[in-house]
């Protein structure tokens, strides 16, 4: 497994994926820093209250994180889908799988290698963006490491799904399913919030179940919680908590530990089922 993981990291370096991601991180962090600096400067010129500026920066940061989570979903799909599926389609896998190695080792090795790169990209890009915001606005989110950890978890969920699907389906189909799944998961989260606020019980349940079926949106709530200033939480909780919860960019609390544990188990189950299927697949 370690041999395959090392091979995967080397592949992502040699095929310039790592360098492209690093360059994109620098560009996006620069743009975030520049944009926030301009916004904060304009707000201060207009005499906006410093507290409001802080809240504004926090909301912009959450929006940026949301867009980044979409970029991560796409990155996970582009990296994960061909990791096993591409090798099967090109024939590269034949010579490897004829060696005394379990197919599960190949699958998990590919997952491990891709995970290292995706998590490194998430952590580097996420923390740099937060640091840039802190530098230009003076605002730092309350739980930056928690937010980045949940963002990494979300990326790993999508990477696991794409890679697992790629071992049994054509890679293009696997990538498409993962991206659509990410979107549907987010929509399910939104629907769950709205239906709770409006008291539509059945829709709420369906949305809640789908949130557990693909835990990416649940983990996204952890990202928001990590970026949300305590003042916003206090304000939202004091007025209409149900309506506040319907806001897809608000989280009153981090995902419960049971959900976090489920997310880890979910990754294990998805990879386990894929490995079981892959072991039995004719090549």
């Amino acid at each position: 497994m370690v041999v395959i993981a090392r091979l995967t990291v080397r592949e992502l370096v040699r095929r310039r994926v790592v360098w492209v991601l690093a360059a994109l991180s620098i560009v996006s962090v620069t743009l975030v820093g520049w944009g926030l600096e301009r916004l904060v400067a304009l707000a201060r010129e207009d005499g906006v209250d410093e507290l409001q500026i802080r809240i504004g920066v926090s909301q912009v940061l959450i929006l940026i994180a949301f867009m980044f989570s979409f970029v991560l979903a796409m990155t996970a799909a582009f990296i994960g889908a061909p990791a096993v599926g591409g090798d099967l389609e090109s024939g590269i896998a034949l010579a490897i799988l004829a060696r005394p190695i379990r197919r599960a080792e190949v699958l998990l090795g590919r997952w491990l290698g891709c995970s290292v790169v995706v998590v490194a990209y998430t952590v580097l890009s996420g923390l740099l963006a937060i640091a840039a915001a802190l530098l230009v606005s003076g605002y730092g989110p309350p739980e930056p490491f928690l937010a980045v950890a949940f963002l990494s978890g979300q990326a790993l969920v999508l990477l696991s799904l794409t890679l697992a699907l790629g071992s049994v389906l054509p890679s293009i189909a696997a990538g498409a399913i993962a991206v659509v799944g990410f979107g549907l998961g987010w929509m399910a989260g939104v629907m769950a919030g709205i239906s709770t606020a409006l008291g539509i019980e059945l829709l709420g349940r369906v949305a809640e179940v789908s949130r557990w079926l693909l835990p990416s949106d649940g983990l996204w709530r952890g990202v928001i919680y990590g970026l949300e200033p305590p003042l916003v939480l206090l304000l939202a909780a004091g007025e209409a908590p149900d309506l506040a919860n319907a806001n897809p960019f608000y989280a009153a609390a981090p995902p419960p530990p049971a959900f976090v544990i489920w997310s880890v188990v979910w990754v294990g189950v998805v990879l386990g089922v894929a490995a079981w299927w892959f072991e039995r697949r004719d090549l």
């Binding site: 041999v3 091979l7 024939g91 034949l94 010579a95 490897i96 060696r99």
Partner: protein, 324 residues
């Protein structure tokens, strides 16, 4: 009628292997035994089941029915795969690696002891003529060079069983000659080699035994002489009385052309009796040439039902020495 080699303690044994892909039978009750150290050519038209048979030996596909062993272990046994070298028909290697790195990766995957790796890689590069390109990226390799690299991967660490699926499909005549030498060298050191090809001349020139598959079944198996035998014998005889040739008519129709006698048809097992009869009649036997057709003619006869080879007397003398 197909002949199955009688081999004790075979390197490969397949019993009644059936492989279905949906409703299509890629293999339909294949029985095959290959002895240790044999160099066997697996022939057949496209879709005959050659590649499927090789994949089953490696566990890359699972049989629908039947059983088998490779090097004494069940098909696909993980530990045993460490003793098998394989060149896939669809040979593709990581284009972003260098040739030496591809070989190193396979030494690691084969769990070769670290101390042996460098020498095994150097040997493989030398065998396939890639020493000068060892540190070049695979992406810059021609198809033929990639096939050479694939052959190097298959030969890494001197495996006991080597499975080569169309190993010369991308090679020029020089490369094909090299491959024949490599394959023979592997056989000479004791490895069992399965050469899967649809190039009849290639198989004819290098293999000890030929197995012809058609529609997932074995339709012929044996040495080249066994497979291409068309019956009859041609003999160069001197000092034989005119009347003696009439006595030979009990074996079959006799044709005389100078010093050459041809008896056809004749079962191959009766050739020694013919020689005995000639010697008994005072004749001197200078040459005995069992009737032999061409592999191509025999292949076409078995696969598409075309008539067999022309009579033996029409064969040029060089055709009787195929193992040059």
């Amino acid at each position: 009628m197909p002949v199955t080699a009688s081999v004790t303690n075979p390197a490969i044994e397949l019993d009644g292997i059936v492989k279905m892909y949906g409703r299509t039978a890629a293999l339909d009750g294949l029985n095959l035994r290959v002895g240790h150290g044999e160099l066997v050519g697996l022939l057949g038209p496209n879709g005959a089941g050659k590649t499927t048979a090789i994949k089953l030996l490696l566990g890359l596909a699972q049989p629908t029915a039947g059983s088998g062993t490779a090097l004494g272990a069940p098909l696909g046994d993980r530990a045993t795969r460490g003793r098998i070298g394989y060149l896939p028909e669809l040979f593709r290697f990581q284009p972003w690696l260098r040739a030496r790195e591809v070989l190193r990766l396979h030494t690691e995957l084969a769990r070769m002891p670290s101390a042996r790796r460098d020498s095994a890689i150097d040997d493989a590069l030398a065998h396939v003529g890639l020493v000068d390109r060892a540190d070049d990226p695979v992406s810059g390799f021609s198809k033929g060079m990639q096939q050479r690299l694939g052959l190097g991967v298959a030969l890494l660490g001197d495996p006991d069983l080597i499975l080569l699926d169309e190993p010369t499909s991308a090679l020029d005549p020089i490369g094909r000659t090299d491959v024949r030498a490599i394959v023979r060298a592997a056989r000479d050191r004791g490895a069992t080699v399965i050469l899967n090809s649809h190039l009849l001349t290639e198989v004819e020139q290098v293999c000890d035994r030929i197995v012809i598959l058609h529609q997932g079944r074995m339709v012929a198996s044996g040495s080249m002489d066994d497979v291409v035998a068309v019956g009859g014998v041609r003999l160069r005889v001197t000092e034989l009385d005119d009347g003696a040739s009439e006595a030979l008519a009990r074996f079959g129709p006799v044709a005389v052309d100078g010093e050459w006698l041809t008896i056809r048809p004749l079962d191959r097992s009766r050739i020694p009796d013919v020689v005995d009869a000639i010697v008994g009649a005072g004749g001197r036997v200078h040459a005995v040439e069992p009737g032999r057709g061409s592999l191509e003619a025999r292949f076409l006869e078995l696969v598409v039902g075309l008539p067999s080879a022309p009579p033996p007397q029409e064969q040029p003398p060089v055709a009787h020495e195929p193992w040059s």
